[in-house]
Structures are given as C-alpha cells and as structure tokens.
C-alpha cells in the first residue's frame, strides 16, 4: 500500500476515534510531548495505562467479590482510574469512572457492577483502537512516510 493511502487511512481512523469519544484533546497534548528525543513516548504511556488499568479493574472486581463491599476502597480505585484515563485522554473510560463514582457514593452495588462491566468493555475497546492506530503508524514509518500531525486534522 502506498504511503499516501496509508496516511489517509490513518487520518480517517484518528478522526473517528475522536468523534466517537474514544479519545479527547488530552491525547493530542500527549502527542505534542512526543518528539525526536522520545519517539515512543505515546506508546510508552499508553502501555503504562493499560497495565495499570488492568490492575485496577482486577482490584475492583475483587472488591465486589467481598461479602461486604468496601466502597471507600472502590471509590479510591475508581478515582485513580479516572485520573489516569483522563491523563491519556481516554474519554469514554473516564466518563464511566465518573458515573461509577456516583454509584459508589450511593453505595449502589448494582449500579457499580454495571459500571465495572462497562469499564472493562471500554478499556478493551480503546486498547484495540490504539493498537490499530499504532500499527498503522508503524506501517507508515516503515514505508518511509511520516505521521501527520493530529492537530491539523481538526
């Protein structure tokens, strides 16, 4: 596939991610941080996020498996997930976190469990999306092309 086509595909794909709220402007901020000195910064940070979120989701699942749910602890985990997801710009994940926190306040176990399920889904989704995006980028680079600037897309 020629580079131009790949680049166009990349642009379309990126646009869709933003339009569907998988990513928000914070992701663009991160992209700005990446430079020649740190060419893999985004990949690195995103990897960190997914590892951490997996751990948090496991902790959350475990917390709800307890006979007595410790809502404070749950809230703490959700708060952290909210912080990290918002830092990388994973908007949908962040939104579910916000919803889950209010269920926590109300100590609504059902609501929380539904949110937890949603969190797992959203995290998985955005992970796949980003993996696709990175793969496309690698292909473009391998073909000698360059990645267009995200900012210019919008």
């Amino acid at each position: 596939m020629e580079v131009g086509l790949m680049q166009r595909q990349w642009v379309d794909y990126t646009k869709s991610l933003f339009l569907e709220d998988f990513l928000d402007s914070q992701f663009i901020e991160l992209q700005k941080l990446q430079d020649e000195g740190n060419p893999d910064f985004i990949v690195e940070v995103v990897s960190l996020f997914f590892e951490d979120s997996e751990r948090l989701l496991n902790d959350l699942t475990a917390a709800f498996d307890q006979p007595d749910v410790d809502f404070q602890k749950v809230d703490g985990h959700v708060h952290q997930l909210k912080g990290s997801s918002s830092s990388i710009g994973a908007q949908r994940v962040k939104n579910v976190c916000i919803a889950m926190r209010s269920f926590c306040e109300e100590q609504n176990i059902d609501g929380c469990l539904r949110c937890l399920q949603q969190l797992k889904q959203e995290t998985c989704l955005v992970k796949n999306k980003l993996e696709n995006l990175f793969r496309m980028e690698q292909q473009i680079m391998a073909a000698g092309g360059s990645i267009p600037s995200t900012e210019l897309i919008f």
């Binding site: 941080l33 960190l48 708060h79 912080g83 710009g89």
Partner: protein, 672 residues
C-alpha cells in the same frame, strides 16, 4: 506496542541531562539567567501513567525532574537533600500517605513550595489544599501550560524569605538575649544553654549561608523568636485581625530592623494558621478579639518559628522546671499513633488563645514532622497581654498566671481539646537540638493527663477541664516563656492534622466536661499534669508535637491554685464551628483548641462566655466530651484538619450542656 515502562517507579535521580538540562542546571546553581530552566522539581504520584506524563511535560519545560511514586520515599529524598529541590508537585490521593500530610510536612520541614494535583476538582478538596498551605492546586489532567509557570511559586517564596531573613536577623538577636535573661527559672541550665546555643548556632548557620547566596533561588530563613512573635500577635490583636495591616503592625511592634515585608510574610503565615485552626468558614462570632481568625490561613508551616515557648514559659516562672522538663520530654516525643491519643484532642475549637490565639511556635522544622505529621504549630503565648486586650479578647491572656491556667482549662470545656500544647510537647521532647523544648513542662503535664481522661467521653466531668489534645493535627501551642502573665493567655491550640493527637497522648483530656466547673475541674487536667509530669512523655512523639498544651503552661498554677479564669480568658475564640467535619470530636481538638466560649458557633450558648467579662467568672459552655472514640480518632493520623475542625465545631454545637463556672479552678479532677 509495549515498551518497557517504568514500573513502580522508584524515584529516579535527575534525568539524564540533555544538553539543555545540563546547562540549565548549571544556570540554576548560579542562580542566573537561565532560570526557570533547570528548576528542580520533585513530582510525587502513585499513578504511573500520570507520573510519566508529568515527568515528560516538566522535562519539556526544561525543568530538572525527579519522579517518585511514594510519599514516604519523596520525604526521605527531601530530607536527605534539603536543598536538592526547588518545588514539589504532589498528588492528593495516594495510598501510603495523604497528599495533604505530605504537603504539611514539606512545608514545615523544608519550607518548599508545594503544588497539589488531583482529578478531584471539588471545592472542598481544593480548599483543603489551600488551607494546608499548598501554593497551587492543579486539576488533572494537567496540561503543560499549567506547569510552565510553576517557577513563580519558587521565586515568590524565596523572595519573601530572603527579605525576612535580612530584616529580622538583628531583631532575633535581641530577642534571644532577652530570653536568656529571663531564663532564670529554667530548671536545667543545660537545657537553657543548649537551647540558646543551638538556636544561636542554627541562626548563625542559616544566616551566613543564606546571605552568601545571592541567588534568588536560595531560601533565607526568617527567625521569628518567641518574643517577636508575641509582639506580633499582640500588635495584631490590638489592631484587630481584620485591620491588621503589615505597616501598622510594624509600627506597633516597634522593633528596630524589622521590615514591613517581614511582617507581611509573617502575617500571611499567621493567617494561614488561624484559618487552619478555625476551619474554612470562619464563624466569626468572636468579638473583636478572636484571636483566631478563622479566615486566616493557619500558620502551618512556619518553619521559621523557632519560638521556644516552653522556654519562655518557664522563664516566666510559670512552669516549674520539672514540668518544663517533663513537657519537653513528652513533647519531643511524638506520640505514636492512635494509642497515644489519650488526650481527647479536644475540638479544634479549643484553642487556647488567651490573648493571641495563635501564637505558633514552630519549632525547628526538622524536629517535628518526622512523621509527616501536620504542621506543628506552637502557639506562643504572648507575653504581653495588655489589660485592654483582655477586654477584647475573650481570653484574657494577660491575666496572672492563674488565668492562664484557667484559660487552658476552660478550653477543655470544649470537648476537651485544649491540649494543643501537646503537640508542642512533642517537639519538646524531641530535639536535642533544642529548640524544641519550648513547652514548659508544666504545660506538658496537663496534656499528659489528657490521656487520662480520654475515653471518658463523659460529658460531664466537671473536673476535667478537658484538655484534649488536639487531634492529631497537633496543635501547637507556644507559650512564650518570657511573659509571665501572659503565658496562659495565648494558647491557641492548634491542632495539626494528625499529629496532635498523637502527641498528647497522655496529656489531653478528652473530656470537656460539659459542665466544666472551673472550680472543680477545670483544671482537672492540670492535676493530672502535675502528678504525672513525666509520665506521658513517652507518649509524645516529637514529631507529632504539634500542639502543645496550652494549658500546661501554668501547670504549676493550676494545680494548686484556684484559677480565676476570667471569662475572657477562657474562651474565646470563636472558632467557626461550622466547618468541622464530623470527624471525631476528638479530633476537633486538634484543630483548634481554642476556647472560644464566646463566639463559638454555638448560638445557643448564652454564656458565651467569654463574652465580655473577662474578669467575671466565666461560664464556660460545657461541651460534651466526646466519648472514647476520641481516642482512636485522635490518634489516627488521618485526621485532617477539616475533620478536626468539624469535630470541634460539632462539639461546640452539641455542647453546652452546662456552664462552667470558672470561679476557681481546681485541678484535682484531672484524671490521669
């Protein structure tokens, strides 16, 4: 797609300097034009994603970044290398330590600017940050633009300190000498000697160091001695906290060599302190004299306070040598958590501020806060309490020693918090260095007894003055030793979050017997104190000493005499009660152990005591003494000031079961 990420990041040393960084750093060392490039930032966050992103952003700003994912590690890094960092960025929610505690610790020990961050943008949390002394609060996700300007906080802080240091150098010298001359009553000349010498040494060391460095990045230190601070507080009170402007304060103080800038920065800190004591919403019912001005930010991290209140106190003869020693011993030792909270840290509201609600004595920063405890505030008791002040202030601090004691005791009424001094004690005990022992031993004693009563939660201990040690947040009470009369008056117990309770372990009484009868029991706590002068010392953790018993000041007095606590003395201090979270009533002690009888938020207390008749027997509203859970609560290091305040306020509101008659205090009731 996975790249090796930084797992559980251990703090990395300054990143491999890129050419920019290297040169920037050099520039920093020389303190010159490349600033703010090379600014040495320590960023603490348990979230690895955020931590990495922040690190990258800060690097892009050309700062020298060190990242750390645990607060304890960050603290030890800061301690090992006191001048190794210029500014700290910390997350609020961390598993091993509350971000606010770290904030206070850093402010106290190292006096570095700290910026808080959180995904939480709720007003309360932000307010908490401000109250604890954060110089800024960033909402996550943090953008790089927000980070570019953090250097302003560094410059601001240094500029103020530098000026203060320059100006106050001579003043301190004079103060010190004054102190010495009054130190006749010190029991242990060694103590005195060491204190003085250590203070001198410290000052001497600090000043030349600071002076040599002309770079704005160096941080000069102001030394606000006990006397100086007392004068300051007296001036502030005279003017009225709302009208206290640096210029006027300076004029009133009439201290040669002191500049308006020195006063201004000190005033700012004082306000912070006051605010912290009283919580966010100042319920200013105090009559003109609320010493504790809720609005003012608490004097939290007053690193510069070296006041040795104890010393002052003992000098004035208020404290007997042994009590002084006892206090010191106990004070210095930081009480271990929880268990030591025997003192019901009384509501924060109980601030003994007889005259100047908040004299804070901040001991050597290194001294306390080992535990990352909240700031220790020592309240100094203004030594000169003018009679007219009495009128104003509900607490009549000036009164004779007897008053002082009373006052303290009265405070106990409020949920027994009074023990602010406990925290002080802690500091006392602690340091060899000396500056700590400020708290007169007598002071400490009362605190010790606090523990005794803890757990009683009996609301009606008539006999217990209820010195509760302020909640963990360590109330610091500084008693200016030099002022004999005043000692008692200005105890403002300030409880620093989390520390106070610990410190006071023995001393605080939690009960604020609702019917504090002055005669009977106000001083009950004192009784205890006298009896156990040294008992509780072990409970004191120097680090936690944040609050020193106010009451203990007059330990000697209490025990034996009947106090006549003028209404004004006792109470006063209107702490806004609204703010307190429910935390524990005990904890409230910590916050403000001011007795503000009069204004406290208790609307229904007619007696607000303090209202005006300083000289008449005061009816102290008795507060219910929280029950035993004080103890546990107090001890918890998690006490935040807010909580304490909340508790305190709550207590106040609930309180009022009786009125305390302060016609005479008897200390016998102190249960130890």
């Amino acid at each position: 797609m996975d790249l090796s990420h930084m797992k559980g990041s251990i703090p990395t040393p300054t990143p491999t300097p890129t050419p920019t960084l290297i040169s920037a750093r050099k520039a920093t060392d020389m303190g010159s034009d490349q600033f703010p490039a090379g600014l040495r930032v320590l960023v603490v966050d348990d979230d690895p994603t955020c931590l990495r992103i922040l690190e990258k952003m800060l690097q892009n700003c050309c700062y020298a970044v060190t990242k750390c994912n645990r607060a304890e590690i960050a603290l030890s890094m800061l301690r090992e290398n006191k001048n190794g960092f210029d500014i700290v960025l910390s997350d609020v929610h961390m598993p091993d330590m509350d971000g606010f505690k770290l904030l206070e610790q850093v402010g106290l020990e190292m006096d570095l600017p700290v910026i808080m961050m959180s995904a939480d943008d709720g007003k309360n949390v932000v307010m908490k940050g401000v109250i604890h002394g954060a110089c800024d609060y960033l909402i996550k996700p943090v953008r790089i633009e927000a980070l570019r300007n953090i250097w302003q906080h560094v410059v601001r802080k240094r500029k103020t300190e530098w000026k203060d240091l320059e100006q106050s150098g001579s003043v301190d010298e004079g103060d010190r000498e004054q102190n010495l001359s009054e130190g006749a009553n010190y029991s242990s000349s060694a103590y005195e000697g060491s204190w003085n010498s250590s203070k001198r040494r410290r000052d001497a060391e600090e000043e030349p160091e600071e002076r040599d460095d002309t770079s704005t990045l160096k941080k000069p230190r102001v030394v606000w001695s006990v006397e100086l601070h007392q004068q300051f507080v007296a001036a502030v009170n005279q003017l009225g906290i709302d009208k206290a402007v640096p210029k006027k304060i300076l004029e009133l103080m009439n201290v040669p060599g002191l500049t308006r800038e020195n006063v201004a920065s000190h005033l700012q800190k004082y306000r912070l302190y006051l605010r912290r004591l009283s919580g966010v919403s100042p319920h200013q019912s105090n009559l003109n004299n609320s010493f504790i001005n809720p609005q003012d930010p608490p004097f939290g991290s007053m690193g510069s306070f070296n006041g040795i209140d104890l010393q002052t106190l003992s000098v004035t003869g208020q404290l007997s040598p042994q009590s002084l020693a006892a206090l010191q011993a106990t004070g210095l030792r930081r009480p271990t958590a929880k268990s030591s909270i025997s003192m019901a840290l009384v509501d924060q509201n109980n601030i003994f501020s007889f005259e100047n609600p908040k004299l804070r004595f901040v001991e050597d920063q290194t001294q306390h806060l080992n535990n990352s405890k909240p700031v220790n505030l020592f309240h100094e008791i203004p030594t000169k309490i003018e009679p007219k002040q009495l009128g104003n202030i509900q607490h009549s601090s000036v009164q004779p020693q007897g008053n002082i004691n009373m006052q303290l005791n009265i405070k106990s009424e409020h949920s027994g918090t009074q023990l602010m001094h406990l925290s002080q004690q802690q500091t006392l005990g602690h340091s060899p260095a000396s500056h700590l022992p400020r708290i007169p031993s007598t002071l400490r004693k009362p605190i010790i007894s606090g523990s005794v009563t803890r757990g009683n939660g009996t609301t009606d201990n008539s006999h217990r003055p209820g010195y509760n040690l302020v909640s963990p947040t360590s109330v610091m009470v500084n008693y200016p030793m030099s002022q004999t009369t005043e000692l008692s008056n200005n105890y403002s117990l300030q409880s620093n979050s989390s520390v106070s309770t610990l410190n006071c372990k023995g001393v605080f009484q939690e009960e604020i017997s609702s019917d504090l009868k002055v005669s009977g029991g106000l001083m009950s706590s004192y009784d205890v104190f006298s009896d156990l002068p040294l008992q509780k010392s072990h409970d004191w953790d120097s680090q936690n000493v944040n609050t020193l018993a106010f009451g203990t000041f007059h330990h000697g007095n209490f025990m034996q005499d009947s106090f006549d606590i003028s209404p004004s003395t006792l109470i006063h201090h209107g702490f806004p009660s609204s703010q307190m979270n429910g935390q524990n009533q005990n904890s409230s002690v910590v916050g403000k152990t001011m007795f503000s009888f009069s204004d406290l938020t208790q609307p229904e207390n007619p007696q607000n005591i303090a209202q005006n008749s300083l000289l008449d027997p005061v009816e102290v509203k008795s507060q219910k003494i929280p029950d035993a859970n004080y103890q546990t609560d107090l001890l918890s290091d998690d006490f935040g000031q807010d909580e304490l305040l909340g508790v305190f306020l709550k207590q106040q509101q609930q309180g009022d079961d009786g009125s305390v008659d302060f016609s005479g205090y008897q200390t016998e009731n102190i249960c130890v």
